[in-house]
Point group: C2
Chain length 153, copies 2
């Protein structure tokens, strides 16, 4: 299960993606609109900024905006930044490998082998999905709900 921090972070990134190419967004606005505790959100945005996913400007007219185009920011990297490695065990992580203490032999460990498949399955979804993809999904779902057929296959 992902933490609230990560969920808030994803919502914030999505919000900023929606308002891309416009003015920097105030933390207060984001906090209000997405119902995220302001101080908590500050920390989250800062973390995302320090990891290159966001940029910011101080002072009047300042605020936060995406560090790259929505198409260039993967959901996987947002989650990695806030939650840590996607791998279910450290010994199969590509971004944060750590040797498995109790395991006798990594090469033959059955648990590791399965966990490797899980990691691949997870990253295959999350690293291939961008903020832009997420917005697309929302739009299509909305159109479908409104009864407007969507021919963009």
């Amino acid at each position: 299960m992902i933490s609230k921090k990560t969920k808030y972070g994803l919502k914030a990134m999505l919000y900023l993606a929606r308002r891309n190419d416009r003015e920097p967004v105030l933390i207060s606005d984001l906090s209000r609109d997405e119902r995220i505790p302001k101080k908590f959100l500050e920390m989250i945005l800062l973390t995302l900024k320090n990891n290159g996913m966001l940029q910011s400007r101080k002072g009047k007219g300042g605020g936060y905006y995406l560090g790259k185009a929505p198409r260039e920011i993967s959901v996987g990297n947002v989650i990695r930044t806030l939650e840590g490695p996607l791998a279910p065990v450290p010994c199969v992580s590509e971004t944060a490998y750590a040797k498995c203490g109790e395991c006798l032999d990594e090469q033959t460990c059955g648990i590791r082998s399965v966990m490797k498949d899980v990691r691949d399955a997870i990253t295959n979804v999350l690293d291939k999905t961008s903020l832009a993809d997420m917005l697309d999904r929302e739009e299509r779902a909305l159109k479908q709900m409104l009864g407007t057929p969507d021919y963009n296959i």
Copy 2:
């Protein structure tokens, strides 16, 4: 990341699967061989028993043994028992669904849509892999390491 409890549980189940059809296994033996703190292991085995994955016998000649055949026990259910739902967010869990508090509309939520894909990717691996499959993997890896070709495709 899965907890130590879950990892210990998986190792214990695998150990018991290896010794299936033989005598019940003592907690002490399992604890020693897999290097799992005994008291912690007791609790884990009990949980697995209470969820039908294991059976036990008390007194002399007693111990733990699998509740079903290794082929019938999925890694997914072992993890669910010890770690909780496999879904990354409660609103996409099939076994422990819970409404997403902050989400305005589940049907159109982009995060939920992606997380649903992640859940499917995870369960597709874990629910289709049994303890027997894990043992097979170990055996094949071992054979390969020993240079013995494995023609069982």
